[in-house]
Subunit: 315 residues, 6 copies
């Protein structure tokens, strides 16, 4: 019985015990009428189909995305490896495993990143914008620190939102200086920090911080609206001026740039225009980074869904 073999390293015939994430759980009935459970094992190295034969519970689709301690054997079916589980139970308090082995995380020092975000917020000259950013950060600290920036496409890993937001704030800080003739730094930085706060309610997350789906609110209202509405409510409580409250909402509502890309209104002031471009730039650069990391120099990727084209890793 081997212990905690990484999924990418499993070979046919191994008997294994270890901690893995179980996802895409489905309870089924075989052609001869007996119940079984079909699911996928996942760790940061990959995924593998899995079955528990003659199984009628207690695990169900509700347990999607949880860490399990399991024991079983690697077999082969139709030319593909498959893990047949013999014993399984959810991980418990006191179990020893490392989440970092199981779910992908942003390749950054998250504590340092959060500190830098706090410092940039502290540097916002306008006290009303600054106070609102600080309130929002405290209100949503755990979520802001943990969640991905998207379900897929880019930054789809733990702390992806933190990484994405910090990168954008760094760019916003520099560009506010470069275009100081038309940019109000306080407004731009506040809008940049806040722009994706609606994502916490837009997405359904597992206990490990992975996005398993969009929420009804996310689908029917959108994260732009969710965020702008909360800012309006909080700004009202803090007594922010009407003009600033309006501008912040405008930056949030327009940060997707074009209606056909999801913007509720078009950017109409220099800060909202720039914020939309910074968001586009950071997401594009991350898409390239993720795509290029899997290519050899001189090769093209296949057509990327998120860009609608193939990308090249130059020599």
């Amino acid at each position: 019985m081997e212990q905690n073999i990484r999924i990418a390293d499993m070979i046919q015939g191994q008997q294994i015990q270890g901690y893995y994430i179980l996802k895409d759980i489905r309870c089924k009935t075989s052609a001869n009428g007996s119940p079984f459970l079909s699911a996928k094992l996942m760790d940061t190295t990959g995924e593998m189909d899995s079955k528990i034969w003659n199984y009628s519970g207690p695990l169900t689709a509700e347990d999607n995305g949880r860490v399990m301690l399991l024991r079983g054997e690697v077999t082969e079916y139709n030319g593909t490896l498959q893990f047949i589980i013999h014993r399984i139970r959810p991980a418990e308090a006191g179990d020893h495993y490392d989440i970092a082995d199981l779910v992908p995380s942003a390749p950054i020092d998250t504590e340092a990143a959060l500190l830098e975000v706090r410092e940039i917020i502290a540097s916002i000259e306008d006290s009303e914008y600054r106070a609102l950013c600080q309130s929002m950060l405290e209100r949503h600290l755990e979520s802001f620190y943990t969640i991905p920036a998207a379900k897929s496409v880019h930054h789809a890993f733990r702390s992806g939102l933190l990484m994405h937001t910090l990168n954008m704030m760094r760019a916003a800080d520099f560009l506010a200086e470069l275009y100081s003739e038309v940019i109000d730094r306080s407004l731009l930085l506040a809008g940049t920090f806040l722009h994706d706060f609606g994502k916490g309610q837009e997405m359904v997350r597992s206990e490990l911080g992975l996005v398993t789906d969009y929420s009804s609110q996310g689908m029917l209202l959108g994260h732009l609206y969710i965020c702008a509405r909360e800012i309006a409510e909080l700004a009202g409580k803090q007594g922010m001026s009407e003009e600033k409250t309006m501008l912040l909402q405008h930056l949030i509502l327009s940060h997707h740039g074009q209606p056909e890309h999801g913007a509720a209104v078009q950017p109409q002031c220099a800060e909202s225009e720039l914020l939309a471009l910074i968001d586009l730039m950071d997401s594009r650069m991350e898409i390239y980074a993720e795509a290029v990391s899997e290519l050899k120099p001189g090769d093209f990727s296949g057509k990327l869904y998120a860009l609608g084209k193939a990308v090249y890793r130059h020599k």
Copy 2:
């Protein structure tokens, strides 16, 4: 000196005194350096260019859209009639004139219309939706009763919003029955009644209820967002369930149908889909009504900006 001649009936050489609306006011300086005021007279029969020579105030662009008592002469310039004002003052309390002669109004009995709106609201089965509609009506009663449904395009006259909303509620009531398999009547009627309440804040109005411009809020946030945000706030106060609160906001945010037509999100439930279609239908029918009323049977209009095509009045 003739009294209150309708603008469409004025002829060259008449000396006239009467009440007219003054709009598009501009304070200018002539080539030889003397100040004058350029504006337009308006009543329900038309508009005429107007000048006050050697005039330096007190009227300014701030007085746009107000009723004036004025005296002057109809002259001709470059083949067009022009009204040269000799005396002018804003209408005062106690002056006798009929607003209905000066600004166009919806061709309906507005009191009966409001009563019918109240009755349909009272018929909403779901008490939470009904209560919210009643609160919104009381909160915005004067505005709902008075304002146009748009700055131009369709229903751009006093009480246009009331007329548009009532027509849509009648259609919604019928269609909720026809499609009762998929339509929750309470939700559809509430969404229909509320869908354009953001217009009060989206548009800047003169004292007579005419729209003179879009507000900053209207441009930067849009009336869909403004309305949905207020509904969320009010629903919170009234303790409406989370699902219903979300659905009402969704109906408001999506009632323009497509992002490229201004929808913040796409309709995704049967009621929001139907509301967007009813809104489209009522505005289209009014555009046709307004265009066709100026055509002879067998004639085509010119290309209408709002539709992107010419329309035909059949024989």
Copy 3:
């Protein structure tokens, strides 16, 4: 040997005899050279792959969509149930089975529906339009009563066209009253009744009334043209006035609303504009009804091909 087990209820190992529809028939040769027939069994509860080994006729693809009496066994292949046919012959006059068990039909009382259509036609004030509707109904009665409204997408079941047309006529009747200022009720009702009559020639149907394909005429000319041309021909025979003949053709040719949705010309009068919207509305509502019927409250569908988006069934 069990009798007429519904396909959704079949389990591995059963020996069954019964009436089913055979479709997607293909005559093939196995790798070892022997002929076999591959097809699908269908009833209203579902479909199942089926084979007849060592079979060289007389059934061929020409028999697609016919009712068969067959005998065989439910087996399993690659994790899926498969019906191996041992004996088969087409159903004959005198056989006892219920078509309603085999092909899906509109969930309406079709005789009552046809009666209501006749009544609305009879209420058309303009005698020329009314006469033409009555002639078209008699000419195409069987087809109008039986065929689906589409090959897929919406109302794709027996009598789907009847159901779709009646719903639209009810809406048209109401809306002609609501918008009586611009709508000629006779024209709108006639156009609504006639709008999809070209579908009979656009689609190829099996003997049971299911659409198996588009016809060459349907592909190369389109049902809008086919219908408008027939109306022109019939109107000529009945001596309808030139203006009315033109208007009816215009309503038919434009009822898809936009050229990119298949309209041969754009709607240019109030009646054609409204007809296109009523058609859009009824098809959308049916798409929602069909999609929502398979969802639990609180769930989203997958992305629907016909709408390009997912839809929500609210709680």
Copy 4:
């Protein structure tokens, strides 16, 4: 009193008598209440604004596009020449003037062109297609010989349709040979000859053959439908096979290539695809010819409405 001065040669102060076309006729009332007639004089060299002061008839807008004998004086107004008419009457039988001086005509020998069209028709191998072409030519001979191919854009002169059709038939003849593997020459030539026959009913023409407007039929049904419908009717009378009748209608309905360019259906066979391209090619080449004829080598035109871009005349 000078005689029949060409409009481009008129100078201020001349007293002139001659034959000109009168168009854009409007009966107006001056600011002081007296009636006058405003119109434009036209000959092949240009146009000039014209007035008849104190005129109350008998000429009206109904006389648009007719040849007039008139007498008057060239004056100047606002820096532009203007013709003040003193006497005017419509040209009568017996008057001596040359239409070719008054309306622009195709720069071809129209009799030779018609002969060549007849010869190509006679060379169509398939007797059914050939007979139908010959019937259509006889039925519409005068119109086919005279009318422009469009109201503006290209070939907007007398016999423009003849010139456009002949050019296309020459190209079709050559290309049917080049692509004989997929092209049925008879079908292509018949479709090419017939493709614009609906234009006769689509446009309203003056007695001189100039297009003054689109007809109601043209706007509401479109010339593609009008032509296809007539072909169907005539083919029925001549007993043409169903397949050929369908193909000819398909070529007509699809010859604008894309729905957004006015095609009722998309081209779906090689002949319809090629016909749409030949039509596009001939109209584009004529647009270039007309635009380039007004440029010096090395110059660009302004942005052409018909092409959405400027064009270059090379050195």
Copy 5:
């Protein structure tokens, strides 16, 4: 052991030796850890999956598209025939096989075609354009004679570019005469001959002349740019006038017609407009020819990727 059986004729159980093209080569490892090679056999009659079990070289993906002499057995897997290779080596000098059996070629007499191309070039009146065409032909003779016109879509066979170019030159020659008023024959013919010369660098070819991929240059610069740049360089060497050099580049850069179809600039002179249309026409006709050749009269193809629609083969 049978010899050189055509792939379309292979049946299960045959032992075969012969020459075939090997493509899509992938070196893999089976679930139990042993290496094998997966590839496809190809000749002009079709393709078949193929395996070499327990194989670790020397063949690799580098050998894609080469002719192999191989020996093996036709087996069946999952209902599909599969060729298990027992022995394999690349074809060598001295081996006897006919390339025409292995790779598809243009259905033309290539030597006669080249001769005709040379003759048309020789007929170009302008000596500068003619000289440049001749130089380009000599520089790229082998490639021009051999390569396909595309990787797929149309003319994707040996000498496809030659066939495509000659057809277009024939059409250009005819149309230059038909539109001689606006077309400079020398410019049009030179541009037509040269328009696709960049394809040699845009595509990666196997030793047999088949396109196996796009090159990095092809992806990142495009064949329009590659060709225009080379023409500029060569024209400079030959002392061509600046205007003509510019025009030739313009024809190359714009020959895809629209930016969204890959044109670097829009056509802006009559010759570039016509060239783009001739290219469109010839590629469309070839797409039809290839699609229709696989259809029975009266049938439709499936939706063709290259056209976005189905096509019909008429009776």
Copy 6:
């Protein structure tokens, strides 16, 4: 006689002598046959219509955009001021006037800007890219230092290209560091510096550096192609590696981002993607800066042609 009155300060009746730019020169003939010259005076404060009566030369349209010494009077025509010139001659060597009063220039210290550009180039690590940038700078120094970045839209003033390029290089320098994981700083900076070098040939300039038109090369080939072609030629001379030469050309050809915005190919590597976004960002920020500078806080502009929307200057 007053001297060098700024155009914005001119009032009716002034007799003025001074230096102004003459543009939009047209030689015309009045209705009574005498020649005159119509043109516009321009300085940095504005423009004014101007006439020289009874003038037949020597000035012609060839003198467009030149500085003139002139004498005349400010008059009024149709409510607008107009400058009637009595004497005029082109400015000569030795005349005293300040170009900065006549043509608008970038609001930067151009010498310092050029120095900074040189320093950033000197910091490019890759010696091949650096050398090519230095060669291009020396080759086009005067043009790079002087010309606008566009004919209108943004940076349409002297040294606009220098200002635009420097701003972009500053942003590129920062972002190359921020996205160092995927960005090759040398490639990005070289591409940024070079991206608009084709503009020198794309535009026709007056002797003062103002763009008066697009050149034929600019229209027919585009500045992207012109620049990429020159880089290819120069890189060849300098022996740059093939990969780097290709990448630089790719950055230039794709820097407009989308084909519909003028890109010859789409960006396909991280550096070209980022360059296109930096270019978009800098031009958008300048458009905002120019638009906002003419607004009061709280006001909206009219719809800007370059953005397709109005913009807001916040309070």
